[in-house]
Amino acid sequence: MAAVLETNAPSPTGSAELPRNDAYYRLRADIEEFLYAEAELLDERRFRDWLNLLTDDISYFMPIRRNVKFGQHGERENTRTGIGISWFDEDKWTLTKRVDQILTGVHFAEEPLSRVCHMVSNVQIKKVLPSLGDPREIETRCCFMIYQNRVEYETYMFVGKRTDVLRMTDDGWKIARREIILDQNVLLAKNLSVFF
């Protein structure tokens, strides 16, 4: 099932294949609620609870974006998962380590903890499997704006798009894949110590 959703090809604009019926709007409302609740967990620094929203086989990926010539964007603009160096190309183990590190209380890049606000918008449902009537795995896209303020004067804004694959489990929706497209080339922040 997941294999059907594993595609690097950009989806066409809009979700023409999905009818705009009650089931669609109900699902989108459910997904929006899920994404907002997830953002709140991070803003409230409930990192262990956030980890529980990730499937054990999660892929968490943030490419490095490059300045390339017109016509080469599809092929060369973003680094690829599974190849070379990106900002993040992670699994559950490393994400758990990142949480463990913050919870030591001596990870000085997050001690004292940053104030972080995750804003999620432009939520779209791109794919639903097997059907809108019985959504078990979906691909959703959104825009994010993450505000980070550290200590006194240090402030960063991370803005970009996210593509998530969410999977329905016995415990509700969980995140099985997250691709984070940060709209920067040279990273304009000293650290990426927040979760996206």
Binding site: R66, N67, G82, W87, W93, L187, K190
Partner: protein, 452 residues
């Protein structure tokens, strides 16, 4: 120093005999301009790697000091580096990070330059530019360029010594970072590049890699949780145990370079370092035995970290790579890290290493995030009028060194700021505009040749 500078005497800024360095050199705009003029236009700077431009016409946009520089392999395969600025009105002629081209075309008035930097096309040349000297209006080339074991270096100073002379006895330490894990010479490739901005003076980063082993406590969080290549098997720490039996050495070289390396015991046995992955464990054991067979006694020397004066740092083992600390302002630096693997390493090894590099290094790296935090707040807290009156203390292990060591340079066998003292002493020579003999430490400060 300019005649009206508040800093007419560099000796007041850097006192390596007593172990003090003024905070001004980390925050002051006038001193920063002096550095750009006197350090970054003279010293050899790391600008890239051959694996980034393998084919004729390949280019990679790099930096020297604050300025954009195009690194390009021309149609004949010769590597050039030139200022990324049109000779007519200064527009950047290349705003792509890398690619392949036959011409660089300025977007402003369409002057074009060939891959060897020569001016080729000038619109309305016949009617508007009679007698224009194309040769004299080529892109501004670096004065010297050197390719060393795949890495590419350049200087704007035509009087600079050749690169190998500039490296001096730091060469065999840098070699350990650039050579194959099994001891063959060279053979590395870049698997990716991090670029990020951090609000700190560039010298904090350079000094961190000079052999500031003392900052270990700031990495306590990763040491507690364990992120190394045996972490999943239950090992704490952020790296591996490869050097647990080694004699660590901290060496200051007269050219200003500094390294922290290690000498394995005479019984130089492989130490398991990749418990998380049996394929990797087997591969690195094989590399270890091969390297020992090839290099014999010399295989006992292993690199840890180092900085080649002024702003190129390396991690020689894990996570292996080269960093360039590009100055942006007195209190802002653009870090570039080029991650290295053996080009012919098995795919599984490359994949494992890149994942380890990402979780360890750079702004998303669990270890180095804490470095950036330190550099930022050390810079910020040094800007105050009162703070600037109080120099930083560099007295650690003052006098605890020997010049009588086979590795050359000034060797310490304990954690030391002797390397930093040597680095800032040389920085002072550059700011004085010293001749190359002094910059290389020739006369009175002659390095002893390695006996091996």
């Amino acid at each position: 120093m300019p005649p009206n500078s508040r800093f007419d005497d560099p000796d007041k800024l850097v006192d390596t005999d007593r172990g003090f360095v003024s905070r001004e050199i980390f925050v002051d705009p006038d001193l920063y301009k002096e550095e750009l003029e006197k350090v970054f236009t003279r010293a050899w700077l790391f600008i890239g790697h051959e694996s980034l431009i393998p084919k004729p016409g390949d280019f990679y946009t790099t930096r020297m000091g604050e300025e954009s520089v195009i690194l390009c392999r021309d149609k004949q395969g010769i590597v050039h580096a030139f200022l990324n600025s049109c000779r007519h009105r200064g527009m950047k002629v290349c705003r792509y990070e890398s690619g392949n081209t036959s011409l660089f075309t300025c977007p402003y008035h369409s002057w074009t330059y060939t891959t060897d930097g020569k001016l080729q096309g000038v619109p309305h040349f016949r009617t508007l530019y009679e007698g224009l000297d194309r040769e004299a209006n080529s892109l501004v080339s670096v004065a010297k360029l050197a390719i060393y074991k795949g890495t590419i270096w350049a200087t704007w100073d035509k009087d600079a010594p050749d690169f190998i002379t500039y490296l001096g006895d730091a060469k065999i330490h840098l070699d350990q970072a650039l050579d194959c894990r099994d001891g063959r010479s060279g053979g590395s490739e870049v698997v990716g590049v991090h670029k990020w901005i951090f609000p700190a003076n560039w010298k904090f980063a350079a000094e961190n890699f000079l052999g500031d082993t003392y900052h270990n406590p700031s990495h306590r969080s990763v040491d507690l949780i364990g992120i190394g290549p045996s972490a999943a098997a239950g090992k704490k720490g952020r790296r591996d145990d490869e050097l647990e039996k080694a004699q660590h050495v901290w060496i200051s070289f007269p050219e200003g370079h500094g390294v922290h390396s290690a000498i394995q015991p005479e019984e130089n046995e492989y130490i398991e370092s990749f418990l998380d992955n049996p394929v990797l464990e087997q591969y690195f054991r094989h590399c270890f035995e091969e390297r020992k067979r090839r290099l014999g006694e010399q295989a006992r020397l292993l690199p840890f970290v180092g900085t080649i004066f002024p702003n190129t740092s390396y991690h020689g083992r894990q996570p292996r790579g080269l960093c360039a600390w590009h100055p942006h302002s007195p209190t802002s630096t653009e870090g570039w890290r080029f991650f290295l693997v053996d080009a012919d390493a098995p795919q599984e090894a490359k994949d494992y290493l890149r994942r380890y590099y990402m979780r360890y290094s750079g702004p998303a790296g669990m270890t180095e995030q804490d470095d950036m935090e330190n550099w930022l707040y050390a810079t910020a807290a040094s800007m105050g009028t009162v703070a600037r009156r109080y120099p930083f203390n560099y007295q650690q292990s003052l006098g605890a060194w020997t010049k009588d060591h086979a590795l050359g340079g000034t060797v310490s066998l304990q954690i030391t700021e002797e390397i930093a003292r040597g680095y800032y002493a040389r920085w002072k020579s550059y700011l004085r505009g010293a001749a190359w003999d002094e910059l290389l430490g020739v006369g009175g400060n002659l390095p002893q040749r390695a006996a091996e």
